[in-house]
Symmetry: C2
DNA sequence: CACCCACTATACCGATCTGTATAGTCTACG
DNA sequence: CGTAGACTATACAGATCGGTATAGTGGGTG
């Protein structure tokens, strides 16, 4: 990734997320990044590809962030129980949204603007959600093997709801609220 | 509302919801509705106003649908308890999404495309969410007065999460799943 | 019959959209 | 020193954007 390409992707990400994908033109992205359209098209080929790389980048960053967060938990607490790891997911999400996200989930927002299921960005969006559901389900299985899927879905609903509520700013700190609710859920089901 | 205006609003609603607001031009709306752009601008004045009326219409329909659903519960069961009324909200949402909505919540999706908080559509979006939160909180208060707000928020998170999950089609019938989870929540808190 | 109003049809405005072309500058490397 | 590649600057093509103007049609009402 050349320096200009990096600046372009960064500017595109910021603008796409804050204003929406269709509302942002490539001229604005180029201007904001201090890059010419020529360079932009030499590196990315099309706006659609730029959108794809924006979402792929955001997806990768979130997964890395969450993975690292969970690894750090493992480093602090030698043998954290499953409930602690589930709650750590909500903690990570809270830290992430506080820093990177004031308009909700970029995947959900992008999905609102992409109608065609054959759009190359589509598998990235659904892929991240499936990954999160799998993660929740796997962790839930360590709490109550028999109800792993059910519990995983519940955690997924709370988490997605919290991201939406955070974006719409309906009430304060919904991700923390979702975390507390997850804790209750685990107390009921676990042990 | 003249006949042509009605057709235009209907076509605009369908297109805005399915393809996104910025992705749909007024020429397409006019063509789809069998209406000229002249008529469209005579009736609505601007695309922005058309967007506002689309959201206001959708908001009003949903509130009327839910209100009627709860009234019918009251008619069947003379004195339904609060838990039954809360679960009826999820039932209504399930019926609504099955019929009107395959891409998630139109308010959330519109919010993804509207960055400016001073946009006239903004209060409609936040208004509906606030209305839902108030409704959940009020009903929750009849279950456990002391934890009305906390319980109301939890129900809100589950409900919003279910709408997102429905739109992304992550797993089957997430609204029903959210309803079952709400039932559990009420059993823990209630009585 | 005359009038009004919602409507259609069509052509156009300026602005902006994605995408491309040409020409030239800077820097790192062999 | 010379070359290659990443870059800037600028201009433009073709399409579409939101929005407007003009002219004419059809049905209902006084």
């Amino acid at each position: 990734m050349t320096p200009a390409a990096g600046r372009a992707l960064e500017a595109a990400g910021k603008l796409f997320y804050e204003r929406g994908i269709h509302a942002v033109g490539v001229d604005l992205i180029a201007a904001e990044a201090g890059v010419t359209k020529k360079t932009l098209y030499d590196r990315f080929g099309s706006k659609e590809q730029l959108v794809v790389e924006y979402l792929a980048d955001r997806d990768e960053r979130w997964r890395a962030f969450l993975t690292r967060w969970l690894e750090e938990l493992e480093a602090r607490d030698a043998e954290p129980d499953a409930a602690a790891r589930i709650l750590a997911v909500f903690d990570a999400s809270r830290a992430w949204t506080a820093e990177h996200s004031t308009k909700g989930c970029s995947m959900v927002n992008a999905h609102a603007e992409i109608s065609d299921p054959s759009h190359p960005a589509h598998p990235i969006i659904t892929g991240q959600k499936r990954w999160m559901l799998d993660l929740f389900t796997r962790l839930a299985g360590e709490v109550d093997q028999g109800r792993a899927e059910e519990l995983g879905r519940s955690l997924m609903l709370l988490h997605e709801g919290a991201l939406v509520a955070h974006g719409l700013q309906i009430f304060d700190d919904p991700v923390a609220e979702a975390g507390r609710r997850a804790r209750e859920l685990l107390h009921v089901h676990g042990r």
